[in-house]
């Protein structure tokens, strides 16, 4: 299995507060890994760290390998070469993510100008091709527009076109459909899956929505309080969730789609911990129906289940792995 992106022992601090705790992830070529989590889970910090785009006040530790090349140690010109060439980045809010005073065609073209040494005319032509690739009709006309003249869905397509311009092996997308309407989200989900298969791009897709995971992911990693609590193939995670938190998220989704109208919704008690909460033991134990005294004192390490390889395997960090699968349903 060739890896587009591999992250190992990744930790991120903002001042004294630690947002990410030794996270490990692997995105195979041509596959989508969905990283799901709530506010403060550290999912966006993982995305930014993997793209080496953390703000200056943040500090990171750990290894990031892009298509086998170590990116975490690079700086300056070497890092610039990898950005765009090896890693594309898509933000949540494309209106803010695009330069408001530059035509969208130019914003794509500059990528070719720098990485491919093309002149203005050639790079403009390549930009139009990039716009066409994300299924925008009349790409040449759209290239001449400014971001505010495009709809939300079109803007996100342009962001994707920028990220994919140089056909990088990996694209990191930070909640790319969260700000969009349901119908536009559906269009983008479809587009990304098609392009991923077409170009063999590996995608790290950050989201808080299990429905989006169900639609787009080949692999899932569930984050809670800066840690990955479950990691595995999407289908097997959905089939046999091992971690109580994953189970709760899936039960919420199922409840929305299939629960009886009028009944109370399935709810998880409590709040996700904030960054400055001191955590002892398993971070989920205060909200977990299965928690025992062990959970309150000792942090569980990731254990492999379902064998070493194949689509039925995965990693889970829970003391009660395999205790009872249907405890919460």
């Amino acid at each position: 299995m060739t890896l587009a992106l591999s992250v190992d022992g990744l930790s991120v601090w903002y001042g004294e507060e630690r947002a990410v705790h030794s996270v490990a992830l692997e995105v195979p070529v041509g596959k989508v890994l969905a990283l799901i989590g709530e506010t403060g889970s550290g999912k966006s910090s993982v995305a930014l760290a993997a793209a080496r785009l953390l703000p200056p006040r943040a500090r990171m530790e750990g290894r990031v390998l892009v298509a086998g090349e170590e990116m975490s140690a690079l700086s300056g010109a070497q890092l610039r070469r990898l950005r765009g060439e090896k890693v594309g980045f898509v933000t949540q809010d494309a209106l803010a993510g695009l330069n408001p005073v530059m035509r969208v065609g130019r914003q794509i073209a500059e990528v070719f100008q720098f990485h491919r040494n093309l002149n203005r005319r050639e790079s403009a032509a390549r930009a139009v091709e990039s716009i066409e690739q994300v299924r925008i009709p009349e790409p040449a006309a759209v290239a001449r527009l400014y971001p505010h003249q495009l709809s939300g869905g079109m803007r996100q397509r342009i962001m994707i076109a920028i990220a994919l311009a140089l056909r990088p092996p990996v694209v990191i997308a930070d909640e790319p459909t969260t700000a969009l309407d349901v119908s536009t989200q559906a269009d983008i989900l479809r587009l990304v899956r098609e392009l991923c298969a077409e170009l063999g791009t590996g995608i790290l897709w950050i989201t808080h929505d299990m429905g989006v995971v169900a639609e787009v992911a080949d692999l899932v990693a569930v984050m809670y309080a800066g840690r990955i609590v479950e990691h595995g193939h999407a289908a097997s995670v959905f089939d046999r969730q091992q971690h109580p938190y994953t189970r709760a998220l899936l039960r919420t989704l199922h409840d929305m789609r299939a629960g009886q109208p009028g009944d109370p919704l399935f709810q998880i008690e409590g709040q996700p911990p904030s960054l400055n909460t001191v955590i002892t033991g398993c971070p989920f134990h205060p909200r977990c129906p299965m928690a025992t005294s062990l959970c309150a004192t000792e942090e569980p390490v990731s254990q492999r289940f379902g064998g070493l390889e194949g689509t039925e395997s995965g990693l889970v960090a829970c003391h009660h792995l395999g205790d009872q699968a249907g405890a919460m349903t």
Binding site: P137, D187, G211, P261, I268
Partner: protein, 373 residues
């Protein structure tokens, strides 16, 4: 339902902002004791409707009635209505003044409506306790609370006057998934305990399905479909509603719903400024015509009225879904010509049925019939 049952009703209400029509000749009513889900994407006019109901905007034409009384224009005439109407907005970080204590935030409506100071503290205390914050210090500030806690405070403020109706504008949209259910359940139990009537604005179709009795679907400032929640989810009649439901993500990676290369609704090809955003000015025909796979010439020239179908549903469409064949020709305009088959039909029905298998015949998915054959 008799008109006496209407708590809040919109009659032919239009709101313009300059050239733009935000709400266009809208008719709907909130029935006593029920929850009305107001559904639509950005720019559909749903939030403007809430602002009109609260008297925060004035209708350009048409009338909003509250318990049979016309919503007046003056502040004074709005006061008794506001007493009866609680409201909760989307962003609990935005809607609570960070410099005000809980007592002032929750007690503000009491003060406005002239409740004595001595009585206020007690009622604030009671309201906070009703929303699950019995121990919150009255002199604390919103900053102490997380998103869910803040939204509870907002709900306490909305209910402190003991209103008969509650208007909620996406009250859980900015909350975490694991907190969202807590707030919704709180609203549901309060509604039940007090016999509240409620309008729940949302773009989350899954959530609306779970809590609404009736649904109004808006697009481009107009009501395109209205009816019972169960009925609409089971059998959407407007092509927009059908496409919207088909765009809701599924439940399992093995049973994906958004699969084919076809578009759920279809971004208007060639005109880059629009996909789900509404038309900028008046549209002579149907607002959805530009994106509708079923539209023909008549849809672009004649505006379909919101008509009552035999099954009690109201639909503004010449070619409602699931009514192909003879009735179409009859209900369509004279030059209607041939009926254009719906593009999303095939995959849509397939997905809906697929999902039905998972959910075990839940209302959302059972018996969806949008196919032509």
């Amino acid at each position: 339902m008799s008109p006496d049952d209407a708590v809040l009703s919109f009659e032919n209400v239009t709101k313009r902002f300059g050239q733009r029509v935000a709400v266009d000749a809208v008719d709907f009513a909130l029935t006593r004791g029920r929850t009305l889900g107001l559904v639509g994407e950005s720019g559909s006019g749903k939030t403007t409707c809430i602002r009109l109901a609260l008297g925060l905007e004035r209708a350009t034409s048409g009338t909003v009635f509250f318990r049979g009384v016309r919503l007046g224009r003056s502040r004074r005439s709005l006061r008794p209505v506001r007493k009866q109407l609680g409201f909760v907005f989307q962003d609990p970080y935005d809607s609570l003044d960070p410099r005000m204590t809980l007592e002032r935030i929750v007690g503000e409506p009491l003060k406005i409506h002239g409740v004595r100071r001595s009585e206020r503290s007690e009622r604030v205390r009671a309201a906070l306790s009703d929303v699950g914050l019995p121990d919150a210090p009255l002199d604390s500030y919103p900053a102490r609370f997380s998103g869910g806690g803040r939204q509870r405070i907002a709900i306490a403020r909305a209910l402190v006057m003991q209103p008969s109706a509650l208007l909620c504008d996406e009250p859980t949209a900015s909350l975490d998934v694991s907190v969202q259910a807590q707030i919704v359940n709180l609203l549901l139990s309060l509604k039940q305990a007090r016999g509240l009537s409620m309008i729940f604005v949302s773009h989350d179709l899954g959530l609306v399905r779970r809590i609404a009795d009736d649904i109004v679907v808006m697009y481009g400032g107009r009501v395109v479909e209205a009816g019972s929640a169960a009925g609409i989810y089971e059998r959407p009649r407007h092509p927009y509603t059908a496409a919207l439901l088909a765009a809701v993500p599924g439940e399992h990676p093995r049973r994906r719903r958004i699969t084919s290369a076809r578009r759920a609704i279809g971004e208007a090809s060639g005109s880059p400024a629009v996909d789900s955003e509404p038309p900028a000015a008046d549209v002579t025909g149907c607002v959805f015509a530009a994106r509708c796979p079923r539209a023909d010439r008549s849809c672009r020239t004649t505006r379909p009225a919101l008509e009552l179908l035999p099954d009690g549903r109201k639909v503004a469409c010449f070619f409602p879904v699931g009514e192909e064949g003879t009735s179409d020709a009859a209900s369509g305009p004279a030059d209607g010509g041939e009926v254009v088959p719906a593009v999303p039909v095939g995959p849509l029905s397939a997905h809906m049925q697929g999902a039905a298998g998972v959910s075990g015949g839940a209302a959302v998915t059972s018996g969806v019939d949008v196919s032509l054959d």
